[in-house]
């Protein structure tokens, strides 16, 4: 018998967290598999430094790297400020003030979410570029010497991204103002604050965790953005990754560039998760009662309406109108049977990814239900963090290991079957689907999990006592309760995948062009009119989840 304390082995740590070899079952295997999948791109990106590319980096350092860093920095500074100003002001007005059209604006201001940022980008360039619609018109009025700000600039990118992403901040801030704004404002007023003081001393600081959460989501989207910056020819890491892969054919270099993005994304992720935790406090009580709104003076009222209308027009109505104009002009010559293939691919990929994500999310939710130990909880939580990883990073991080796996498979096939194809996995949509799964699992998981939360253990117990169990329980209790969440998850993922650009662009098998890929190709040649046709399809599809959101908001 040894008296020396034995070190805890790895198995016993897992046991302490509630896992042991004997307790391994299908659910836990699945949780572990999904966790490994999400971890893979991170490991690949980190591991890429094992194959240093000194030549490439020297070249990068001399030319691109400083530009990339500064370009990214401007966006990371500018877009949050833009979305913050727009989102918070609009949320405050629609949540707490009374002015004409408030009810309509409060949902209509979510419409910009239906338009992918890269669509807004090319519409803006088409409208405001030197030879665009607006400057041409202005010059015809004020003379050819008129100098206008250049749209293809840092400012232009920031404006477009802000107009496209502000609804994230708007939605969260509005939620905060609605649940606690008015009561807190009244308390502040009874303590001698006027409206401005009340807003800055109470309402705004109270909503800070929500607003910060919205801004962090905006930052993640900004970092992940590929379509907008490439339309503007504004180099950031996402476009650099693309060029490294498809220009220099260096996957390792692409993976190493990805590491920058991963680092920033991880920082954002930590910040975002901690803000989420701070969002617990919500004083209960009566809120959002009609009639309890700040009454604005006459011209302030119209100013508020005018401001909301302006943002709505610039960020959604005007671009849609312009798209419609271009599309009708080019539809006759542009639209042909190729479109059926692109549309078909977009729909099929969306559908496949939606089903995959929903199935995995549902399985994870059930796994969490079966196993309430901390390790399972942590693994499931981690699996939902892929939304922070930019699509370009995922494309690289999934393609590299699968290509290696493919080579192994090809060797094996040649060895055992005497069959030597050029590619097995690389010719399928498997890579895309796995990358989509990682990126959009959180979207599906959130919708399904919040529905599952409503099936409290006592419901199962009650059903059992009433003589229902097994599949009948699933069919009569679980399915009806979860179905709403399932439908939401399917819709959200379906549309997100249709709009998704970098993963599709970089990992699609030959011949798998989609609407988003088509938009990328057409806009990189400056063919705004022709790009309007596929863009309108995407905007129409994008309206679906927005309608879901609006319905949920009005309830």
């Amino acid at each position: 018998m040894s008296l020396s304390p034995s070190k805890p082995s790895r198995a016993s740590i897992a046991e302490a967290l509630g896992w042991s070899v004997s307790s391994m079952d299908g659910w836990r295997l699945l949780v572990l598999a999904v966790f490994m999948l999400v971890l893979t791109p991170l490991l690949v990106v980190a591991g890429s430094f094992l194959w240093p590319q000194p030549e490439l980096w020297k070249h990068l350092q001399q030319t691109l790297l400083t530009d990339l860093l500064f370009n990214t920095l401007w966006l990371v500074l500018g877009v949050p400020i833009g979305t913050l100003l727009l989102g918070v002001s609009l949320a405050w007005l629609t949540a707490t003030c009374a002015f004409p059209g408030r009810r309509i604006f409060s949902w209509a201001l979510l419409l910009p979410m239906a338009m992918p940022a890269y669509v807004l980008a090319f519409v803006f360039i088409g409208l405001f570029d030197f030879s665009g619609v607006v400057p041409t018109q202005l010059r015809s009025w004020f003379g050819p010497g008129l100098s206008l700000p250049e749209i293809r600039s840092v400012g232009g990118v920031i404006v477009v991204l802000s107009l496209s992403l502000f609804p994230y901040v708007y939605l969260l801030a509005r939620n905060a103002f609605l649940t606690q704004g008015m009561r807190a404002m009244e308390a502040a007023q009874s303590l001698g604050c006027n409206r401005w003081q009340g807003f800055f001393r109470v309402a705004l600081p109270m909503a800070r965790p929500w607003i910060a959460g919205g801004v962090l989501l905006v930052l993640m989207e900004t970092l992940a953005d590929f379509g907008t910056v490439s339309t503007f020819n504004y180099d950031t890491f996402t476009t650099a990754i693309y060029k490294m892969w498809f220009g220099f054919f260096s996957l390792e270099g692409a993976a190493q560039l990805s590491s920058f993005l991963v680092l920033i994304a991880l920082v954002l992720l930590v910040a975002e998760q901690s803000q989420r935790r701070r969002r617990r406090y919500t004083p209960g009580g009566r809120s959002g009662q009609s009639g309890e709104r700040l009454v604005l003076s006459c011209w302030h009222r119209w100013l508020a309406s005018g401001y909301c209308a302006l943002i709505l027009v610039v960020s959604f109505l005007l671009p849609v109108a312009q798209l419609a104009r271009w599309a009708t002009e080019s539809f006759g010559e542009e639209f042909d049977e190729r479109y059926y293939a692109w549309l078909g691919h977009s729909l099929l990929l969306g559908l496949l990814a939606a089903l995959l994500v929903a199935a995995v999310a549902l399985a994870l939710a059930y796994a969490r239900r079966r196993h309430r130990d901390p390790l399972t909880k942590w693994l499931v939580w981690f699996s939902g963090l892929g939304y922070a990883l930019p699509g370009s990073v995922l494309a690289v991080g999934i393609f590299i290991p699968l290509a290696h796996l493919d080579n192994l498979l090809i060797d094996a096939a040649g060895h055992w079957l005497g069959w030597s194809p050029d590619a097995i996995l690389r010719d399928t949509v498997a890579i895309m689907l796995l990358a989509y799964l990682i990126r959009f699992l959180a979207v599906g998981h959130k919708a399904i999990d919040s529905a599952m939360q409503r099936i409290r253990p006592s419901i199962d117990e009650a059903a059992r006592l009433l003589g229902t169990g097994g599949l009948t329980l699933l069919r009569r209790i679980h399915l009806p309760i979860v179905s709403g969440g399932l439908a939401t998850a399917l819709t959200l993922v379906f549309v997100d995948v249709m709009k998704e650009m970098p993963i599709t662009l970089m990992t699609r098998p030959f011949g798998w062009d989609t609407l988003a890929v088509k938009i990328f190709e057409l806009t990189s040649e400056g063919e705004w009119e022709r790009a309007a046709v596929p863009a309108l399809f995407l905007v129409a599809a994008g309206l679906l989840p927005i309608m879901l959101l609006i319905r949920k908001m009005e309830r």
Binding site: R183, G192, C193, G285, R286
Partner: protein, 351 residues
């Protein structure tokens, strides 16, 4: 002396629906008033109008003689020097207890404000929790913070909106007595609204029973209970039944329980058909008596037992007895009425 608060015939409406109708009341310096009524009777609207959160349809509101609300014009809430304790406390979750309480203190003298806040926090028994955040406190403690915060700027008038409704029953009465002591110690004039008569009686000097936007009676708790002005107040405050009877002479009524006499304030001509208010404590068990009622139900309340009785003609009575008594349902017992305050309401003539 000018009253601190004066409401003159105020009316309010949401859209077309009137929720407060021609309501008037006054509070002298240092008085604690209470509006008591069921939910939806308009009491909270009155409070919110006094605070300046809602407009007035008719009438006027004065605070220390200064006109603050009249139809179409109203002084901003932050200019009124009125403190408010909200039903949900509305503590600022992002500020510590200390920062919550000092929030409303204005003026250059920071040191004095800090002293004042420390004293107040000691008074409400939270001197040790200054650095904590609201969500770290229990409901009762949050309530006290809300009170301290409202008192800190030394308002002319304090409004309390259902201040104890989020607390459990045992805490409610204890805290309402405590709050009364604090307010009296500070000499604060206050108006509270509640639907709970025990809170109202524990807190207030003057209580107004409200029904559909009107005050039925604005009086001391004693008078509300013993001299209710109408059947609604009699029914709403306390327990009891209305027993039909006929006035035989001044302060004498013939009823199913025999001839009742007692103190009465209203003179009535003999022969008037009336309803007599019989409180449970007006019924006395008398073992000498011929059994004249049947015990229907018995409700053990600890110190006393509450009986529901049925007279021969089916009329029900209520009786309160020490809980050592033990009359089983179904048994017949002898009782008589011993009424001190004779409360009579003329029976409405069928028209």
């Amino acid at each position: 002396m000018t009253p601190i608060l004066s409401l003159q015939d105020i009316s309010q409406a949401y859209g077309r629906q009137r929720i407060v109708n021609q309501l008037s009341l006054e509070l002298e310096d240092g008085q604690i008033g209470c509006l008591l009524g069921e939910s939806g009777c308009g009491k909270t609207s009155v409070l919110r109008t006094i605070a300046g959160f809602e407009p007035l349809l008719e009438g006027e509101i004065r605070i220390s003689g200064q006109l603050v609300s009249q139809p179409g014009r109203s002084l901003a809430a932050d200019q009124r020097k009125v403190g408010m304790v909200f039903q949900d406390y509305a503590l600022f979750p992002h500020l510590t207890i200390y920062d919550n309480v000092i929030f409303g203190c204005k003026g250059a003298d920071k040191k004095r404000a800090a002293q004042q806040v420390n004293k107040l926090l000691d008074t409400v028994g939270l001197g040790n929790s200054q650095k904590k955040y609201p969500h770290e406190l229990s409901g009762g403690q949050q309530q006290r913070v809300a009170l301290a915060r409202a008192l800190a700027p030394q308002p002319k008038l304090l409004l309390l909106d259902e201040p104890f409704s989020n607390l459990d029953v045992t805490l409610r009465e204890r805290l309402s007595l405590e709050v009364r002591d604090i307010l009296k110690e500070q000499g604060t004039t206050a108006l509270m609204v509640t639907h709970n008569q025990h809170e109202a009686f524990a807190m207030a000097d003057l209580v107004g029973v409200m029904r559909s936007g009107e005050i039925q009676q604005w009086d001391t708790a004693y008078n509300l209970y013993h001299h209710p002005v109408n059947p609604y107040v009699a029914d709403f405050v306390g327990e009891g039944v209305l027993l039909p009877g006929l006035v035989s002479a001044n302060c004498r009524v013939e009823t199913g329980l025999g001839l009742l006499d007692g103190l009465c304030c209203v003179e009535m001509t003999p022969g008037t058909a009336v309803n007599v208010l019989i409180r449970p404590e007006d019924i006395v068990y008398d073992p000498e008596y011929q059994p004249n009622v049947e015990v229907l139900r018995r409700h053990f309340r600890g110190p006393s037992t509450f009986y529901t009785l049925a007279m021969a003609d089916g009329t029900q009575l209520q009786m309160l007895m020490p809980s050592t008594s033990n009359h089983l349902p179904g048994t017949r017992i002898g009782i008589r009425a011993q009424v001190q305050h004779l409360v009579l309401f003329p029976t409405q003539q069928p028209s």
